[in-house]
């Protein structure tokens, strides 16, 4: 060991300045207790201290001054330190003739290669190797240089094989300074399992080619955590070549499904001498996805292949039901706990609702998706003790309590809309991303009710958006997949009743009563956490949005704390100069509503229309007119009816009062793009009615 010396600040700053490594050649780093960071090659480290070789010589740091020593690794490709040494023909070709903006005028990046190679070993372990090469054309394409890979550390390891930018002037690999392995849910005690490995590649400006490769090795999957992998062909930027290679031994339990969509997939199958089956799927020149609103989730629309350890529905339901039975047995005192929640032994629908309303309030929902933690519920006693559970655990906990109390509740696995149709991938536990319950009541009591006891703001029986109409697997042993019910449009929405008086001065005095239902109700109910002052400010801001000139006079909100009731909001307000004075005329539009047509500006659409749940809004406004003003003009009525949506509005005059009515309803969850022109006309008609003027004239 060299002589240990204390180094003056100026010398260290100089060393840092000289040696803080350019991206292409990272050094090791010594961090000192005083906050300084020194870069160089770590020659020696022991109980005495560290010796760092720098461009200006060697620096010895006593151990007492050291905070940490980092050994930095760069993620280049061995033997390729200059662009001329790059062996990949795609990159060489791209360097020689970069993708031009003229060729891709709309793109920020072009994906030259998006490749995934899945190799399954005879023991069921897998290695998935990804390689993505893209050429950056515009500034927004630089985000391609940041990548994250999530993994289950109990089954998987993720390795960055290489991550680099290549320009005509050099190769710039990522290094450990911009690589981090983090806990995805570290702030949620009890659900910390999933981790993420992320990396940022330097020098990713337009003109650069980004080349990165990752390997995910996975142990054989246990039954409760089956393997599932999705490879999607295409994305937000154009793709020249997307390739998925699937290598598996003959007789492998791994199954796969392909959705081609509008993408031309080329498939080749070969058998290697050792019997390994190799299937390759390739797609070339895939256009980017359009940025339209109200589009179906990518999982429902994009071409893709899904590989999973498949099972059959009966086997899965038998396995899962047995596991649930085992876990239920681990919750002693469940019946008493259910009674404690419900305020007495819950029975029938009333009991289920009472249990639900207390349960969703008292058990905190942990924001960790089941696929990030476990596809089987956790031990219910622990979750009950913590009073916190993620969606799967919370649903199971309710189920266990309800069953212990004798409620006829059954458990179902759910495949929400965000994951696409169940039929489009191998049947597997990993194909499900949620769970719900069914309360089986005699028809006399209203028949079965599907519900998810998750959210403190959702009333009993209100399924979240994306669940309605989704596939579900009841664990009743039949193995039959069912479709979850879709609400009637009336179940979710808003009803407004405005009673108003217009003064001769043009001021409008209004009493408005709104009733919020279903998912609308759930969106408003978080206000129960607010103080009276906060709610008043919410009401004032909301009124100002609708009528910037209004003054709130009274405000009340009822039902927030009671999940058995709809929420009712009552406001009394005055809008000065509501009716615009224009010479002898007074003009105004229907108050209390605003609608735009931004989302339907385009004359055509490229993707289908999609919504998460039905909805309906009704508005009824009665305005008493002042003496001295005569009605000169009324808005014309408007009516649009199509299967799946409708709008009806009109205005009438009777006995000194105007009556506006407006009803908008949508029951469709999906509309094909061919239907778009009619949907556009519907939205525009609904918006146009609110632009119509009522004209009064001085008598």
């Amino acid at each position: 060991m060299n002589r240990i010396v204390r180094v003056p600040l100026s010398a260290l700053l100089m060393a840092a300045a000289l040696l803080a490594a350019p991206a292409a050649a990272p050094a090791d780093v010594l961090t000192l207790n005083d906050g300084r960071e020194l870069f160089g090659d770590l020659v020696r480290l022991d109980a005495e201290g560290a010796l760092l070789r720098t461009a200006t010589g060697e620096i010895a740091i006593p151990a007492g001054d050291l905070l940490d020593a980092g050994l930095l690794r760069s993620y280049g490709v061995a033997g390729e330190s200059t662009p001329a040494e790059v062996r990949d023909p795609r990159i060489a070709a791209a360097l020689a003739s970069p993708p031009a903006e003229a060729e891709y005028p709309n793109a920020a990046a072009v994906v030259l290669l998006d490749e995934g190679i899945l190799a399954v070993a005879p023991d069921g372990s897998t290695v998935y190797t990804e390689r993505i090469i893209s050429s950056i054309l515009k500034e927004r394409g630089r985000d391609e240089a940041n990548t994250i890979r999530e993994y289950d550390p109990e089954l998987e390891t993720v390795t960055i094989l290489h991550a680099r930018a290549i320009t005509p002037s050099g190769i710039f690999p990522a290094d450990d300074r911009a690589v981090a392995d983090e806990s995805s849910h570290g702030a949620v005690p009890g659900y910390e399992r999933e981790r993420s490995l992320k990396c940022a590649i330097p020098e990713s400006n337009p003109g650069a080619i980004l080349d990165r490769a990752f390997r995910t090795a996975r142990k054989p999957s246990p039954p409760d955590r089956p393997f599932r992998l999705v490879f999607q062909f295409g994305g937000a930027e154009p793709v020249r070549l997307a390739r998925f290679v699937f290598r598996r031994p003959a007789g492998s339990a791994f199954d796969w499904r392909v959705r081609t969509g509008e993408c031309a997939l080329e498939r080749t199958d070969t058998v290697e001498p050792d019997g390994t089956l190799v299937t390759t799927l390739e797609a070339r020149d895939i256009p980017p996805t359009p940025g339209e609103s109200f589009v179906p989730p990518d999982a429902r629309a994009m071409p893709r292949v899904v590989v999973a350890t498949a099972t059959d529905p009966q086997a899965l339901t038998a396995f899962y039901a047995a596991e649930l039975a085992r876990l239920r047995a681990e919750l002693p005192g469940a019946a008493a706990a259910a009674s404690a929640f419900a305020g007495g032994t819950p029975a029938g629908r009333t009991g289920a609702v009472a249990l639900h309303d207390a349960f969703v309030r008292d058990i905190l929902l942990a924001p960790v998706p089941m696929e990030h933690y476990s596809l089987l519920p956790s031990r219910p006693a622990e979750r009950l003790a913590r009073k916190m559970a993620n969606a799967l655990d919370k649903t199971f906990l309710y189920y266990a309590l309800a069953r212990a109390a004798g409620l006829p509740v059954s458990f179902c696995l759910v495949r929400t809309h965000g994951e696409g149709p169940l039929s489009e991938e191998p049947f597997s536990l990993a194909a499900f991303d949620a769970a719900c319950l069914r309360l089986d009541l005699p028809d006399a009591d209203g028949g079965p009710v599907w519900f998810a006891p998750l959210y403190e703001n959702h009333r009993f029986g209100v399924l979240p958006e994306g669940w309605q109409g989704a596939d579900a697997l009841p664990l009743d042993g039949s193995g039959d997949v069912v479709v979850l019910p879709v609400d009637d449009a009336r179940a979710s929405g808003l009803d407004r009743v405005l009673t108003a008086t217009l003064g001769a001065d043009g001021n409008l005095a209004v009493r408005a009563v709104e009733t919020w239902r279903g998912l609308y109700d759930a969106a408003l109910r978080p206000l129960k956490q607010s103080s009276d002052e906060e709610r008043l400010k919410w009401a004032e801001k909301r009124l100002a949005d609708a009528h910037p000139k209004a003054t709130l006079l009274e405000f009340a909100i009822d039902g927030l704390d009671d999940l058995s009731r709809d929420i009712t909001v009552t406001t009394v307000y005055r809008v000065d100069d509501f009716a615009v004075a224009a010479g002898p005329y007074r003009l105004f539009r229907m108050p209390g509503l605003s609608r735009g047509a931004f989302a339907v500006g385009d004359p055509v659409r490229k993707r289908d229309l999609y919504w998460g749940a039905p909805e309906a809004e009704t508005t009824r406004v009665a305005i008493r007119l002042p003496d001295g003003l005569a009605l000169r003009h009324l808005p014309p009525p408007s009516a649009t009816f199509r299967p799946g949506y409708a709008h009806v509005a009109g205005c009438g005059y009777s006995a000194g009062a105007l009556l506006f009515t407006d009803r908008l309803e949508r029951t469709a969850l999906l509309a094909p793009r061919a239907e778009y022109p009619r949907y556009k006309a519907f939205v525009e008609a609904a918006a146009a009615f609110l632009r119509e003027w009522t004209v009064l004239e001085a008598r």
């Binding site: 940490d68 020593a69 793109a107 710039f172 392995d181 806990s183 910390e192 990713s204 939205v683």
Partner: protein
């Protein structure tokens, strides 16, 4: 209030992306404490580090560690050098629990003993009394206490205690305890984390259950802090939580930098909030005090060899946010301490690092000369460099310890790797400007956060920009973003105090003229008696108004422009038919960003009998910040603003005649004005609407007048044009 026990319950809104460094800055600038179960721990010896090795596969091995060239030995086990990622010399001693998943706590609970029961009953009585005055509270803070202590050896601790009554669901989030620390510098423990049930049952968090993890940040942030999290089991509405958190900084990077602080008010009512700041008797503290009532402190005393300063506030109302209110620390009770007056120790420390890092290498100097070789003036050179740094350096936060966190990486490193954060980009700016012969320096600024005190320094600073000397004047530029055209910079800097090393103190960043943050639209409109309208709109922007729009349009794929413009037109009025459209200077900073489009409607104007009603497109002014009938706090805009709309109208002569046109008028308040002017032009007339706001603050006393002004503007801006439709010859207008 001190940082709340759960990140999920913080009452302040999330900070912008640029401010992601704040948590780490706060953490590293924070005081430190003693062991959980040892009220007076012996100061750790300098050589008492626990050595740990972190391997690339995630394994953590205890030391000792030796490395000699390519040979590594950890705890007697030989490893290849490639397997080793990091060696930590942990002077935070008693290592935190290792990374992993939280174990299940024993939630058995026990009955309270006699003393505990008496204390519990007292708290319940206090809560009952508070509840009678605050029946709508989410939770009731019975005690919010912090004790900041600087020890004789320069190590520190912050011991905070919260006692609160859970009243609604959201407050149950306090059961989750989450704190950050820096490995080797600080540590966190939870000496008390318990839940008292109304029936007298006590549930405690298992002291062994909190776990350490590396928390996930966004894809472009790489900073070295760790998180410890635990959970008090079984928390329900009606429970009382009693939480004590001990944060110790046993290895401070600079002993004289100690800037402890306390926020006294939270989103819910507090019965008592107090703070204690203790230093060795020979030392003194200096305070910045904001909104502290008379008599609330500091009360100074000397006890047991310590000089102690105490603050205590009682019966604090909840803080309820208002639109555009100033930073929380500027409007609620807040104190922050420092061991010295003024900023010189901070500016000397950071200035030395910046001076070194902003020195251009010959390579960078040559590149700069090449960049500015066509520039004729210094202003052109500054503009070229400003635009280059904004566009070429991607915003990625890569930080090690204090020298890279505060001092940045050397400018050459940043330019080579083409990514960096605000302070990194400011180094590149200064280095390149120096190479071009223009003096400049990076400066720190608390953008989007509390105002800085000229006498009391802090390291809780969110941002860094550049101070440039150009033609004998001082100019501030912010190269962090990608979209500001010279000489504009982000509005969050305007009017804020910059920490300037060469001044050893603060300097205010000037407000621009309203024209420096402007929206200007021109509408050419021609309409027909049936309401049909042909419209051409051109918008030109400056300042944040420009940067925001350029940033948005950059994010839109070019083949999506038609969809977006069609949507904009359809939002003006449904049924729009889009014509030509485009954007100017979207992907460059060489000229003002502009949007242009033509569109037409068959029925933009609405017929009402023989009248045609024509609303002005884009004209409606809204002021959500003036929505409240009354305010407790001022309105604080980030910057000034100008909005100018010019409407040139033409119509079919002989078929329409004006029945009502907006009158020329001027409305004014203390900081803003709204003016309309009508002039004949060509076949029609031109209406000009101009809203100018030259100030950024509306004091509470001025709010009623300001609100009245905004109501008048809102009303005036909604007046439509009214035309009478004349009958065609031999026809009927109706």
């Amino acid at each position: 209030m001190t940082p709340s026990p759960s990140a999920a319950c913080r009452i302040r809104p999330a900070t912008p992306l640029l401010l992601l460094l704040l948590p780490l800055l706060l953490l590293l600038a924070r005081p430190a404490p003693g062991a959980a179960d040892d009220p007076e721990p012996a100061p750790p010896r300098e050589d008492a580090a626990a050595v740990r090795a972190l391997l690339r596969d995630g394994t953590i091995l205890p030391g000792p560690v030796t490395l000699d060239g390519g040979t590594v030995e950890v705890g007697g086990r030989a490893l290849p050098r490639e397997a080793l990622r990091k060696v930590v010399f942990d002077r935070a001693a008693a290592a935190q629990a290792t990374a992993g998943e939280s174990g299940a706590e024993a939630a058995q609970g026990r009955r309270l003993d006699g003393d505990e029961r008496a204390e519990f009953e007292l708290w319940n009585a206090q809560a009952e009394e508070m509840a009678s005055r605050n029946p709508d509270a989410n939770y009731l803070v019975l005690l919010d206490r912090i004790e900041h202590r600087l020890r004789g050896d320069g190590t520190r601790e912050s011991r905070s205690r919260y006692i609160l009554k859970v009243r609604k669901e959201q407050a149950k989030q306090f059961a989750r305890l989450v704190r950050w620390f820096v490995e080797g510098r600080s540590r966190v423990s939870f000496p008390r984390a318990r839940c008292l049930k109304p029936g007298g049952l006590l549930l405690e968090m298992d002291p062994a259950s909190p776990r350490v993890s590396t928390p996930a940040t966004d894809a472009s942030t790489f900073i070295k802090y760790q998180m410890i999290s635990g959970m008090i089991p079984g928390v329900e509405i009606g429970d009382i939580l009693d939480i004590e958190v001990l944060e110790e900084e046993t290895n401070p990077f600079k002993k004289e930098f100690w800037f402890p602080q306390m926020y006294f008010q939270s989103a819910e009512p507090a019965r008592r909030a107090d703070a204690l700041f203790a230093v060795p008797e020979a030392m003194r503290l200096h305070f910045t005090r904001r909104n502290i009532p008379d008599g609330a402190g500091p009360h100074e005393s000397v006890e047991g060899g310590e000089r102690i300063y105490r603050f205590a506030l009682e019966n604090l109302p909840p803080y309820v946010a208002e639109p555009l209110d100033p930073d929380y620390a500027d409007i609620t009770p807040f104190v922050q301490a420092s061991l010295f007056r003024g900023w010189k120790p901070v500016t000397d420390w950071v200035g030395a690092m910046w001076a070194e890092n902003a020195r251009p290498s010959e390579k960078l100097a040559a590149a700069t000369r090449e960049l500015v070789k066509g520039c004729r003036t210094d202003a052109e050179k500054v503009a070229a460099i400003y635009h280059y740094v904004q566009r070429e350096i991607r915003y990625v936060i890569v930080k090690g310890d204090m020298s890279t966190l505060w001092g940045s990486w050397p400018a050459d490193t940043i330019r080579d790797q083409k990514f960096g954060c605000c302070v990194d980009k400011a180094q590149v700016m200064s280095a390149m400007l120096a190479a071009a012969g223009i003096r400049s320096t990076p400066v720190a600024i608390n953008a989007g956060a509390r105002r800085l005190d000229p006498e009391i320094a802090t390291l809780s600073i969110t941002h860094a920009i550049s101070r440039v000397e150009l033609d004998g004047k001082i100019l501030y530029l912010d190269s962090t973003g990608y979209n500001h055209r010279f000489p504009h910079h982000a509005g969050m800097n305007h009017g804020r105090e910059a920490v300037v090393p060469e001044l050893s103190g603060l300097e205010a960043v000037p407000l621009p003229a309203p024209e420096g943050n402007a929206v200007r639209y021109r509408f050419d409109m021609k309409f027909s008696p049936d309401g049909a309208l042909a419209l051409a709109r051109r918008g030109v922007f400056t300042g944040d108004e420009e940067a925001m729009r350029r940033g948005y349009w950059k994010s839109v794929r070019e083949d999506e422009y038609a969809r977006v413009f069609a949507g904009v037109a359809n939002e003006l009025a449904p049924g729009a038919a889009l014509g030509k459209f485009g954007v100017e200077h979207c992907h460059d900073l060489d000229g003002p960003f502009a949007t242009v489009f033509d569109c037409a409607w068959n029925d933009y104007g609405k017929r009402a009998g023989d009248l045609l009603v024509v609303p002005l497109p884009n004209a409606e002014f809204d002021f959500p910040e003036a929505a409240l009938a009354a305010r407790k706090y001022p309105i604080q805009y980030e910057s000034v603003n100008l909005r100018e709309f010019v409407y040139a109208f033409a119509w079919e002569k002989g078929r329409l005649e004006p029945a009502f046109l907006p009158e020329a008028r001027t409305l004014e308040c203390a900081i803003a004005s709204y003016a309309t002017a009508v002039e004949p032009s060509g076949d029609g007339f031109t209406l000009t609407v101009r809203y100018t706001r030259s100030g950024t603050e509306v004091p509470v006393a001025d709010y009623p007048a300001f609100r009245e002004f905004t109501a008048k503007v809102a009303r005036a801006s909604r007046e439509p044009l009214l035309f009478r439709v004349l009958p065609e010859e031999g026809g009927d207008a109706r």
